[in-house]
């Protein structure tokens, strides 16, 4: 009789689930839609052109150096450069139209040239920035440094402005100043050599001249970037993470419905009828838990099936491990639903608290953004969040290509969470009303 009753409970819950259009949409369509959106935003889709950072450059100097800086920035593929006045730029930043505005003040070229060899005071570049775009500010600062160094050094080692400034500096060194005698002699020798370089360059131009030096100081290294994925030639698919995250989020939502459904059934007196049958309490909860796990598994399966068909998510690791992680996640989510039913009093009051708990769980679990972007301390704290293990497990078996053995600890932890939630649910479930 026990198996018969268990099967009837599961069948009934599945029938009820599939007759509830809202529940079906929430469990199947919603995770796919939101995961697709997050995937597009965060995946860095290989074929999509990346957005450029909008900046403004106000050149109040108009020198060779400042023009070279503007030219360098404009040629940079990560920036979208426009001009304007200081006031226009300030307003554009304030309104969020421009992320950073760079003001090159009058006299910057000369002052930068003089400061290049360390003698004179450094001129200031003014950066007006949108405080909500800290990451972009850091990026623009780095790019600006590169182009300023390139423009100033190019001019100082080959341009007319550089020659003039070198001769001016040599003249200044003839009179005693703040610099120590030894330093002054050494600098005079270096500038003298630079000056002789200019004269030689003028006497026999072009052939044999160093192009690197004519172009100014360049980055003294090149970078070869390689995304380390499971195998060479297998690109990272960011949709894998977004589908894992949203899949976990919405199966937890589905299990909130399981818990709330149990509270509603209790409110309607249905549990009296269930309890009147000669069935154990464990069997009654197991029936509920099984149907919840099946619904969760179907939701996760459908989400990943869509991701695999449309966004080419692939299980690069063990297929068995992937299925095992899905099953363990579904069982964990289902027992979480039972816990909601055990701790909740009324359906209305419980729903809000449960949604908040799930949102916190998936946020801390890295379902929205990967947990590796969290601060180190938070990454440690989130180890107590079951959603973190579920998302990491799905990430591991998809794009990271983890084996079954490597995934076993994750599966074990998920099942441990399921056992904990289940035990608490059995202990706290209110059987008498």
């Amino acid at each position: 009789m026990g198996f018969q009753a268990w099967r009837a409970m599961v069948r009934k819950d599945l029938l009820l689930f599939f007759t509830d259009r809202r529940a079906v949409i929430m469990s199947f369509a919603a995770p796919i839609a939101i995961a697709s959106f997050f995937g597009f935003i965060f995946s860095g889709s290989q074929n999509t052109e990346k957005a450029r950072v909008p900046i403004r450059v106000v050149d109040q100097d108009g020198s060779v150096i400042s023009k070279a800086i503007v030219q360098g920035l404009s040629a940079d593929k990560t920036l979208e450069v426009s001009g304007g006045t200081v006031e226009e730029s300030r307003e554009a930043v304030r309104r969020g139209k421009t992320t950073v505005a760079i003001v090159v003040p009058a006299g910057f070229g000369d002052a930068a040239g003089q400061a290049f060899f360390g003698g004179a005071a450094k001129p200031q570049l003014e950066l007006l920035y949108d405080p909500s775009h800290g990451t972009e500010l850091a990026m623009v600062r780095g790019i600006l440094t590169e182009h300023v160094m390139q423009a100033v050094s190019a001019e100082m080692f080959g341009g007319d402005q550089g020659r003039r400034l070198t001769q001016q500096s040599l003249e200044q060194l003839k009179s005693p100043g703040a610099m120590a005698d030894g330093d002054r002699r050494a600098l005079a020798e270096m500038l003298g050599a630079v000056n002789r370089w200019y004269e030689r360059d003028q006497a026999s131009p072009a052939p044999g001249a160093s192009p690197a030096l004519r172009g100014g100081l360049a980055m003294p290294y090149a970078v070869h970037e390689e995304a380390i994925t499971v195998r060479t030639g297998v690109p990272y698919n960011g949709f894998a993470h977004s589908f894992a995250g949203m899949g976990v989020q919405f199966l937890l939502f589905a299990c909130i419905d399981l818990g709330i459904g149990m509270l509603l059934e209790r409110q309607q007196g249905l549990w009296k009828r269930l309890r009147a049958a000669p069935l154990s309490r464990g069997l009654l909860l197991a029936g509920k838990g099984t149907s919840g796990a099946l619904i969760a598994l179907m939701s996760l399966g459908a989400t990943f099936a869509f991701g695999m068909a449309v966004f080419r998510i692939r299980i690069e690791g063990s297929g068995i491990a992937f299925v095992a992680v899905c099953v363990a996640t579904a069982v964990m989510a289902s027992s979480f639903g039972l816990l909601i039913a055990a701790l909740g009093k009324t359906p209305q009051a419980t729903r809000g608290v449960a949604i908040l708990a799930v949102l916190l769980m998936v946020m801390l679990g890295g379902a929205w953004v990967p947990s590796f972007v969290f601060p180190a301390w938070l990454q440690k704290v989130t180890l107590v969040v079951p959603a973190r293990w579920a998302v990491d497990g799905l990430d591991a078996t998809t794009w990271r290509g983890a084996s079954l053995v490597a995934t076993l600890p994750t599966i074990g932890v998920l099942l441990a969470f399921a056992s904990l939630f289940g035990a608490l649910a059995v202990a706290r479930f209110r059987w008498e009303e």
Binding site: M1, Q4, A5, R7, A8, M9, R11, K12, L15, L16, T19, D20, Q268, G269, L270, K272, R273, L274, R275, A276, A277, P278, L279, S280, R281, W431, E432
Partner: protein, 315 residues
């Protein structure tokens, strides 16, 4: 032969509240016993303990002489519970509801199908088998609620306020169902706070108040607890209401148990209507008292409850 149900000294508290203090009664085969009492008297908790869904703090429930023990006691299959709530899945068709509840008792296959069909036929819902419960009227839901408790052919049927909130037609249909069940030899416990239902249906009535049994007898036996079995009410004309000595004079008449005047109505309790009524009317004539309306009534369970507790059932 032991009674089908033997509830012995049942007691149940929820925190500081004692829902059932001391309830004992039996139900014999084919007997329909009413559990009558006001709201909060402890009827539903008593039914819960009998059904095995509420664990008693003290006392025991015996089904066919065997003490009910634990959730999985097979003896629970002899009990069919029809809860006060409409314990049905609104989004499922009537047939699927019954299929589920039948499966809980191990019914399968053709036997389950046949049971479902006869259950729907029994409550007059065969033509609505495929319709979702949410499309049913309140009365139809009540009838399906009844059918769901009978699928496994229980020997004892527990009905907790089965007619709450339904139309007279559905109520009568349920009464017909209960009489049919009794004729099949089923034992029935019927909780209600509607005295007319208890009077009409029950072979025996257990009156419960504040968690205790205060009376347990047939309807006739309960009437025997009244100081008088008949009541005569005389609606007096305006000036007659000022006759201060009328109530005392009436009480002095033979066969009169009590008499009082309230709101212009003289109410007289009589042991024998034929012996007492002529004397009351003669007294009124002798004193020159005019009246507009005379009504005689039999005592009812309301009167019995009032006599036993000093309160009405609906207090």
């Amino acid at each position: 032969m032991p009674p089908v149900l033997d509830a012995r000294s049942l007691r149940k508290s929820f925190g500081a509240i004692t829902a059932v203090a001391d309830v004992s009664f039996t139900v014999d085969p084919g007997e329909l016993v009413g559990l009558l009492g006001p709201n909060g008297a402890g009827k539903s908790t008593t039914v819960g303990m009998i059904a095995g869904i509420v664990a008693p703090d003290a006392g025991e429930v015996r089904i066919n002489g065997q003490a009910l023990q634990g959730d999985t006691d097979p003896a629970k299959a002899a009990i069919g519970l029809v809860p006060q709530d409409l314990a049905l899945f609104d989004e499922l068709p009537a047939r699927e509801n019954l299929r589920f509840f039948g499966s809980l008792y191990g019914l399968t296959g053709a036997k389950l199908d046949a049971t479902i069909a006869s259950g729907l036929e029994f409550v007059g819902l065969a033509d609505r088998a495929a319709d979702k419960v949410k499309t049913f009227s309140g009365g139809m839901k009540r009838r399906l609620n009844l059918a769901a408790g009978l699928l496994h052919d229980p020997q004892l049927v527990l009905l907790d306020e089965p007619t709450v909130g339904i139309d007279p037609q559905s109520r009568n249909a349920i009464f017909d169902n209960l009489e049919a069940l009794r004729s099949r030899g089923k034992s029935i416990v019927y909780t209600t706070h509607y005295m007319e239902e208890a009077e009409r249906l029950c072979d025996r009535i257990v009156i419960v108040d504040h968690g205790k049994v205060i009376a347990n007898d047939t309807v006739r036996g309960l009437y025997g607890l009244l100081p008088a079995s008949r009541r005569l009410s005389v609606e007096l004309r305006g000036e007659a209401q000022a006759d201060k000595g009328l109530a005392d004079a009436t009480r002095a008449l033979p066969a009169v148990a009590s008499a009082e005047i309230a709101d212009g109505v003289l109410t007289v309790a009589l042991d024998d209507l034929a012996a007492g009524a002529p004397g009351v009317l003669s007294l009124l004539q002798q004193r020159g008292i005019a009246y507009d309306h005379v009504v005689s009534e039999r005592g009812d369970l309301e009167t019995v409850f009032l006599a036993l507790t000093g309160r009405t059932l609906r207090d």
